[in-house]
Symmetry: C2
Amino acid sequence: MNNCILCQKQNENIIKENELFRVILVDEIPGFIRVILNKHIAEFSDLSLEEYHQIMDEVYRIEKIMRKHLNPDKINIASLGNYVPHLHIHIIPRYKNDAFWPDSIWSEKHREYEYKTTNQQIQNMIDEIKS
Amino acid sequence: MNNCILCQKQNENIIKENELFRVILVDEIPGFIRVILNKHIAEFSDLSLEEYHQIMDEVYRIEKIMRKHLNPDKINIASLGNYVPHLHIHIIPRYKNDAFWPDSIWSEKHREYEYKTTNQQIQNMIDEIKS
């Protein structure tokens, strides 16, 4: 647990945080958001139903805000945790012909892709997630 | 929409179904479950919050039942839909040293793997999901 990189919160761009979880902006893809549980547990069903609702309601809210500001062709949501078994949920804006489209971002890269997302769009999304 | 394979419900092994969604057993991996919305919509935030809770509560319930009967090393949950933009959620039992471990099942295959899951375990899981 002491070696868990998600327990250590290192180099995270935290957008908002409460007692249960934090929301971070991920560098890999413009607008990529990750919701990370603050406790070191591996699976959703380790949460109480109340905690699960609290975290999943935030995922729903972020998805809505992401669609409004980034206008992606699809949103991918995933909780894998095979490398780091500390509950976290990826919320990923996807665009037709992005580097991995139509496959997952964990699949083989198909091409180079330049995101058209502007810093202003990202900032507007962050501001609304914070609000 | 008429061409959508998830609207057509073809060749699905349906475990349970209600007005909002159905739960199917997926062939690819023993115990792999998919929850498929009955309506043709693409994203969680196209659902009302009440519908979202209904479907996500079932995901939480299935995850708990899957852990009890299959004892996986990790559960992967994902809603991608890049190929088929009709909301569906994968609930995947993962095992250390399975064919894709520690990567996603949409990543490159690393090795051959023989699942130790028994038909009885799968049937017990199905029975409890139905109940």
